[in-house]
């Protein structure tokens, strides 16, 4: 599924990723944990192709296809979905319009037929109900005036609608209260399947109580400095990142 | 606002311009009027080299061809340029002056104005208190400059413009008129021909000027114009903070003040330029007299990452026509303009700034607060422009006007020109009045009406006052309150 090999990247002249190597096989959920400034968000942006990040060395591929050469929307069509730490507000574009445009653009890119309006609406209603999203909210400008929790739920909703192959959740727990966290986690867990991989980026262990990872990796100063099973997350929660920050420096 | 009306009546008597005294000092004048001979006279009086005289004459000839501008929202009777003295100076001994040689009458004037000219007096102050070096300009000439020696040790040149022309001709020739060319505009051109004195500052590379520099301008003579010229050069990595203050006596005739200030900034240099302008505003009832303050101020950020900051508190003058500007040429250079303009009585102020973004990633910020009361008019006029090469340019502008009373006016006239697709300009403006509700709220909590107004006005101008050096901020705050006395408090 996702293969990252010796990935180096910088922002302007500042190196952020300094040789990240990672394999996430299909069907597995891997967590990336690490202190602030370790490069966690940079990793998610480099994988999804945001401008301003320059890859200087290494590779990243999904199912053997090189991701780094592709445009962001091409990567999306290949199935890479990034759930943003801070989802954007887009006034004037109703959420439904936005998602339908995205679904159809991805389908066209894959040579599939566009989804018909009735089928789209039916699907949207189903998914919205399962995420406890008021359908009326989907007719308003995307994320405009939404609370932090509502925005995250809208990300999961889009995820459900777009049915991506590989999910990257960037600090999805930030700004969520416990109830919102449960709903969001349920939404994510519902998408777990043998064909789908996930990378869950988080600073705190809390999220991993709800989304159980198969593997946990520690990212510090631009490198993976430790990997282990779910118990590693608990250990980090108890001991903090200090020893890794020291080790990486 | 009935409450305000009441205050107008009760405190009308309080209104007073506290710097309106005149001083009887033995002075010498050039004959009234303007001609090539007067230009020669001024140049000769100052012992200027030939090149300087030629420069002045060239400016004079160009001035004859220019027309007085009329686009500002100000109106005044036509100025008779032949009915003004272009040179007035206190009679003093020849040669370099030390503080001891300065006419005691003159020192008394500055004492009365609260300007510290005695170095030891300043030195005797509280340990660690900031010190100010002062250049005092009385009518046409600089009477004294303090702390010159100490500044010289740091390599900083701070002297009168006349002295700079004699002692540092290479610097003056290189930079004078390089920011504001002689023919830039009508008043700048006039200034170039007849400027009498002003301050000169040079801060060498890497030097952080060890104290605040300031110039104190005083117009005293009757029927005279004041045309000072200030040139500040901050070499690579240098820093200087400069303050200027202005006052004039109360006279029934209008007097012209047409100054030019040029700032030059090389790579990584920073200049902070603060002005508290309190020229005589004219009679608040009749509008008679007062200074016509037609000033050209411009900073040229030639160097990359250079930074200039203009802060002005304009409370005086019958008419103000002034747009301290920033030419942001160097890559990553930045300009700031913070302004408080208070008009009352019959004052008219047309002031603002120009932010000319020429270099990539240049930034500018404008915060302008106008307060109009009485029968006055206050106009913010500003230009923000981004050249096609100024990619990544950023501007933020906030203009707020506060109106006090039914007969005043407040205008906002911004010009915004964006010529590339990678700039971001934001402009916000509001016009409001002092709210009865807010006044009542304050009064209900026990403040007198005057205190309430002072409090609210202070809140309104706070963003700008914070930009001033501490001592000036306190002074400016008082000045704003005094200027509004008689309108509401």
């Amino acid at each position: 599924m996702l293969s990252i090999n010796n990935l180096h990247a910088r922002v302007e002249d500042k190196p952020i990723l300094k040789g990240v190597t990672l394999e996430v096989p299909a069907g597995e959920v891997h967590a990336i944990m690490g202190p602030n400034g370790a490069g966690k968000s940079t990793l998610s942006y480099v994988l999804s192709g945001r401008g301003g990040y320059e890859v200087t060395e290494g590779s990243a591929s999904l199912n053997g296809e090189d991701l780094l050469e592709l445009e962001p929307n091409e990567r999306a069509a290949k199935g890479v979905f990034l759930s943003f730490q801070y989802p954007l507000e887009i006034p004037g574009v109703p959420a439904l319009t936005f998602i339908r445009t995205a679904v159809n653009a991805q389908r066209r890119a894959r040579g599939e037929d566009e989804i018909a309006a009735p089928a789209f609406l039916k699907l949207a209603k189903e998914k919205a109900a399962s995420l406890k999203i008021d359908f009326e909210m989907l007719k308003r400008g995307l994320n405009v005036g939404f609370s932090g929790g509502e925005k995250k739920r809208m990300e999961i909703f889009q995820m459900a609608m777009l049915s991506p192959k590989f999910l990257i959740l960037d600090e999805t727990d930030s700004g969520l209260d416990i109830d919102a966290l449960k709903i969001v986690s349920e939404g994510v867990n519902a998408l777990r399947s043998p064909e789908r991989g996930m990378l869950v980026i988080t600073h705190y262990q809390r999220l991993l109580d709800y989304i159980k990872p198969d593997r946990v990796h520690v990212l510090a100063a631009g490198r993976i400095v430790a990997s282990g099973g779910p118990e590693l997350a608990l250990q980090l929660e108890a001991e903090g990142y200090d020893k890794y920050v020291g080790a990486a420096a | 606002m009935a409450a305000v009306k009441e205050t107008i009546d009760t405190v009308a008597a309080l209104e007073k311009y506290e710097h309106g005294f005149t001083t009887d000092i033995d002075q010498e004048f050039a004959p009234k009027g303007l001609s090539e001979d007067i230009v020669r006279f001024i140049s000769a009086k100052k012992d200027e080299p030939e090149w300087m005289l030629e420069w002045r004459l060239e400016a004079y000839r160009r001035w004859l061809e220019l027309e007085e501008p009329d686009w500002a929202k100000v109106s005044y009777p036509k100025i008779d340029y032949q009915d003004t003295y272009y040179y007035a100076a206190p009679k003093t001994k020849e040669g370099p002056k030390s503080l001891d040689e300065v006419d005691p009458e003159l020192l008394a004037v500055y004492e009365k104005l609260g300007i510290p000219l005695k170095e030891q007096a300043v030195l005797a102050g509280v340990e660690g208190a900031p010190r100010y070096a002062v250049d005092a300009v009385f009518d046409s000439v600089s009477v004294v400059t303090t702390f010159k020696k100490e500044l010289a040790q740091a390599g900083v040149i701070f002297c009168s413009m006349s002295e700079a022309i004699r002692e540092h001709p290479e610097l003056v020739r290189q930079y004078l008129g390089s920011v504001v060319p002689t023919s830039d505009n009508y008043f700048a051109c006039l200034n170039s021909a007849v400027f009498s004195d002003g301050s000169f500052v040079y801060v060498p590379p890497g030097v952080r000027c060890p104290m605040e520099l300031s110039t104190y301008f005083r117009i005293n003579a009757k029927d005279s114009g004041q045309f000072e010229r200030t040139l500040i050069i901050a070499d690579k990595g240098a820093y200087v903070s400069y303050l200027e203050g202005c006052t004039a006596p109360m006279r029934d005739e209008n007097q012209l003040h047409a100054a030019v200030v040029e700032l030059v900034l090389l790579d990584d240099a920073e200049i902070k330029y603060s002005t508290v302008q309190n020229w005589y505003p004219g009679d608040p009832e009749t509008g008679k007299g007062g200074i016509y303050n037609f000033v050209t101020k411009r900073a040229d950020c030639r160097g990359d990452r250079s930074k200039v900051s203009w802060t002005q508190v304009e409370t005086g003058s019958a008419i103000t026509w002034k747009y301290p500007s920033c030419v942001l040429r160097g890559e990553g250079s930045s300009g700031e303009f913070y302004s408080i303009a208070v008009t009352n009585g019959h004052q008219q102020a047309d002031t603002g700034t120009k932010m000319i973004h020429l270099g990539a990633n240049t930034k500018s910020r404008i915060v302008a607060k106008g307060i109009s009361a009485g029968k006055s008019t206050s106009t913010y006029r500003g230009l923000v422009s981004a050249h096609p090469k100024a990619k990544g340019a950023r501007n933020f502008t906030q203009c707020d006007s506060l109106l006090i009373g039914k007969t005043c006016a407040a205008h906002t006239v911004p010009y915004i020109e964006a010529r590339n697709g990678q700039s971001v300009f934001e402009h916000e403006a509001t016009t409001t009045r002092l709210s009865d509700d807010q006044l009542f709220y304050c009064q209900q909590r026990g403040l007198s009406q005057e205190e309430a107004v002072a409090l609210l006005v202070n809140g309104f101008v706070r963003d700008v006052l914070q930009q001033l050096p501490m001592e000036f901020a306190v002074e400016a705050q008082k000045l704003v309150a005094i200027s509004l006395e008689g309108s509401v408090g």
């Binding site: 979905f81 989802p87 | 096609p388 009373g405 906002t412 915004i416 590339n420 700039s423 403006a429």
Partner: protein, 383 residues
């Protein structure tokens, strides 16, 4: 027909004229083109507002070309062959020129006697000639009217100059929708002078794709007195097109409301100009005036110039203006692309949403849908 004076290039406003600093006509037109020929044919193709109004007036090449003959009950039509010219060339140069040079009838007048909509089509079907036209619009007391005005360029390089005078009687309401699709090399100026009485409502939305030089100018004499004014605009410009939206609202009395929102997008080497002036005269207390202008620049050769002015002579007022100029939010573009939407489509979608706020403010349902479709078409997003 009589031309009261021979119009020369030097009569046109130039950049030296403060109000025309960004829309210089004199520099572009040295010699005013000859008067446009009569356009005899009935315009067969439908205008952009087809089907929205029974009453339709067509003015082609400056001359009245079509009127359905009989007046409807609610809309009456007159001609005025000797109207005066109250405009002075210093303050309203193009209006004064139009009044002096309008071809016969010297003025056409539409009067709304009852609630209705009327379509007025200014068609320029000519190349390299010039024409001036004058239209009066009267809305009787208490009547609610809609004016659907289109400017249709069917030739090129023409100079079209239109003066529209609008009078709203007490309590009357007019929504004026202007859709200007001029030819790329045309020079077109439309000046509307609007006088409204107490309690009247004037709502306007201008949609334009510009021309070589184009200016759509609106002057409103606002009496206060519970009258309401909304002045909106959208400009979407590409190639070398230029569009200038200039408004002047003068609040003359207490208790008036003005709300303005103009949004625009410029691409290629296009230039958008917005000049908005709100004047609150002495004594016009309780005025509430808000003005917003927001523009997107999509190219490094495009330009936007703005001058949002507030001239306030009264103290008990609440006035504000905001102006932003910048590029599309790249974060939002990336967000849309991350969801799989190609870049160009993402940009067009975001631009459409950006100006959509202005379209939403159109009250007339048919006009709003037409405006929506027009925006989509300009941005290459036709469904």
């Amino acid at each position: 027909m009589s031309l009261s004076s021979v119009l020369e290039g030097s009569d046109l406003p130039s950049r030296r004229h403060e109000d025309w600093r960004w829309t210089d006509l004199r520099g572009l037109i040295r010699i005013v083109p000859p008067v446009s020929p009569v356009f005899f044919d009935v315009i067969k193709s439908a205008g952009p507002f087809a089907g929205q109004a029974d009453a339709e007036l067509i003015i082609a090449n400056g001359r009245q070309n079509w009127w359905p003959g009989e007046d409807t009950k609610t809309v009456e039509f007159f001609e005025h062959d000797a109207p005066d010219n109250p405009y002075d060339r210093a303050s309203l140069p193009m209006a004064a020129i139009a009044a002096d040079n309008a071809i016969e009838p010297r003025a056409s007048i539409i009067q709304f006697n009852g609630d209705d909509a009327a379509s007025i089509r200014f068609v320029s079907a000519t190349d390299g000639t010039s024409h001036h036209a004058r239209l009066g619009v009267v809305v009787k007391a208490g009547v609610s009217a809609v004016l659907l005005e289109s400017h249709e360029g069917r030739g090129d390089r023409y100079l079209a100059n239109t003066l529209i005078e609008i009078f709203l009687e007490e309590g009357a309401k007019l929504e004026r929708i202007v859709l200007a699709d001029d030819a790329a090399e045309a020079v077109a100026v439309t000046t509307a002078v609007v006088k409204i009485a107490a309690g009247a409502t004037f709502n306007q939305t201008v949609l334009t794709s510009g021309a070589r030089r184009q200016r759509i100018e609106t002057h409103v004499a606002h009496p206060g007195a519970h009258a309401q004014v909304r002045l909106d605009g959208i400009y979407l410009l590409n190639a070398q097109r230029h569009a200038d939206q200039t408004t002047v609202v003068t609040h003359g009395g207490v208790d008036g409301v003005t709300s303005q929102l103009t949004k625009g997008m410029v691409a290629d080497q296009a230039r958008g100009v917005f000049q908005g002036r709100i004047i609150v005269a002495e004594g016009a207390d309780q005025t509430d005036a808000r003005m917003g202008h927001h523009a997107l620049i999509l190219s490094d050769k495009a330009e936007v110039d703005a001058k949002p002015e507030l001239l306030i002579f009264a103290d008990d007022v609440s006035c504000a203006h905001g102006n932003t100029i910048g590029a599309l939010d790249e974060e939002a573009v990336f967000y849309a692309r991350q969801r799989g939407i190609p870049e160009l489509e993402a940009r067009a979608m975001l631009t459409q949403a950006f100006v959509g706020e202005v379209v939403e403010r159109i009250e007339h349902d048919g006009a709003r849908q037409i405006a929506e479709a027009w925006v989509a078409k300009q941005l290459g997003r036709e469904e």
